[in-house]
Symmetry: C2
Subunit: 140 residues, 2 copies
């Protein structure tokens, strides 16, 4: 997690922001997850620091997004923050039965997306691809 801390410090430095105890704590917890909601992290960190506020969690996770360490995804009414620091971009297979989320990447799809964008005069910055369905267990 040294690399991510470096990346965070670099972002903080560039924007006149400060490194706080809370930001360190939240970063360490965040890097142990694949996806997490602010609310879930709030409960998870309540043991480590009972006074840590929910607003701080939200602020910090949004900060991580700005710093390129996290990416926010809206699933229904909830926002999940994905850890994208240690791996490349990926998309999601989501089971509507048990809510399981499987990550995948497919270069061919990415390439075709670029093609579509170019054809329409767009320059893609990001994208989201989510496939909803039933996993093998929930189908039965």
């Amino acid at each position: 997690h040294v690399k991510e801390m470096q990346a965070l410090k670099e972002h903080l430095g560039k924007h006149q922001l400060k490194l706080t105890r809370q930001r360190e704590l939240i970063l360490n917890a965040f890097l142990r997850q694949e996806h997490i909601t602010a609310e879930a992290m709030y409960h998870q960190l309540a043991k480590a620091d009972p006074h840590l506020g929910l607003a701080t969690i939200y602020r910090t996770l949004n900060l991580f997004c700005d710093a390129g360490l996290a990416q926010a995804r809206h699933f229904g009414s909830q926002t999940k923050y994905d850890n994208v620091s240690h791996k490349g971009h990926h998309d999601h297979l989501i089971c509507t039965g048990c809510e399981k989320i499987v990550e995948f990447e497919n270069e061919e799809i990415e390439r075709l997306q670029e093609e579509v964008a170019t054809r329409n005069g767009f320059t893609i910055k990001t994208h989201r691809l989510e496939l909803y369905g039933l996993c093998s267990r929930c189908r039965h």
Copy 2:
């Protein structure tokens, strides 16, 4: 819009629901749009019927989703209802500069999605693919 009204009536009949003045009004307005939020439709219809309630708009748009005439998409914190009655499934190119939305479809991408799902034991029901970037005008 006769076909869509037929489809709606069929759905209503199957579920012991009733055809109301409001449902007709909202359907006609909806079919004139590509994408719209409940809030936007609320304001748009305020002239035609100042007493039409926001809750009714939401209820009716969700009804259209059940009937297969509409599809809800979450863009950030907002939900947009797409008119999918007269055309097949489509995905979106979204300009983060001017908020313009371009629809597209690409069978090759759809096919690759199926392939990914099968490989992971999933059966896809729906999906969403959104490409975010800048359109040609906003890039300058």
